[in-house]
């Protein structure tokens, strides 16, 4: 069991009304996909708005099978066609 602090931005942060979520993962060595799923569980209002989101780990976009480690800086990068 690992808890990862995950940053939120933009519309997702507004929706969640917070800038960070604590994602509780069953695994000690969660993948990015598992962390993203845990974000949705920790913050159900976000769950349906994570389809087009990726995680950034230490400021690099990762794929859902990449590992996330305690101490990594993790952020949800939600693409909503802004700009």
């Amino acid at each position: 069991m690992t808890t990862i602090t995950v940053k939120l931005f933009g519309p997702q942060a507004r929706l969640a009304q917070k800038r960070e979520v604590l994602a509780a993962c069953a695994s000690d060595t969660p993948t990015a996909g598992e962390v993203l799923e845990a974000v949705g569980e920790a913050c159900p209002i976000l769950a349906e708005h994570l389809d087009n989101s990726k995680l950034a780990v230490n400021h690099e976009l990762v794929t859902s099978t990449d590992p996330v480690r305690t101490g990594d800086e993790v952020a949800v990068i939600g693409m909503l066609g802004g700009g």
Partner: protein
């Protein structure tokens, strides 16, 4: 040839962008400038403006990488991107992209593609600030 640092410039600015500069790189035959202006309505609702958020240094780094890709793919001479961070009121400029190339078609195609990819891949978000109260 991979683009050099001097060919791609990225500038994030707090609040609305100032006036455009006379950006005209040496050797350019076509210089195109795109400005994105905040519009006072979205989906029929009135706005006060938009708030932009970035995630530095990732945002600047990825804008620079995207710019370099576009310069290389379209054979451009140079590219410069300016974007607001924070609140920008209606009618103000929040985004400006300059592209320089030898000929027109490459400049316009590169500009279009930069903006398409920026919207899909760059950690840069906008949040509408509605006219009446919160959302």
């Amino acid at each position: 040839m991979s683009p050099t640092a001097t060919q791609v410039e990225v500038q994030l600015t707090k609040g609305a962008l100032g006036p455009a500069t006379d950006w005209r790189p040496k050797g350019a035959g076509a210089v195109v400038q795109f400005e994105g202006v905040v519009r006072p309505t979205e989906s029929g609702r009135s706005l006060r403006g938009l708030t932009y958020e970035c995630y530095e240094p990732m945002t600047s780094r990825m804008l620079g990488e995207l710019g370099a890709d576009i310069v290389e793919e379209h054979g451009l001479i140079a590219l410069r991107v300016e974007h607001s961070i924070g609140f920008v009121a209606n009618h103000a400029v929040s985004f400006r992209l300059y592209v320089a190339s030898a000929h027109r078609k490459a400049a316009l195609a590169g500009m279009d593609q930069f903006i398409d990819r920026m919207k899909q891949t760059i950690p840069l978000w906008k949040v509408p600030e509605w006219e009446n109260g919160d959302d």
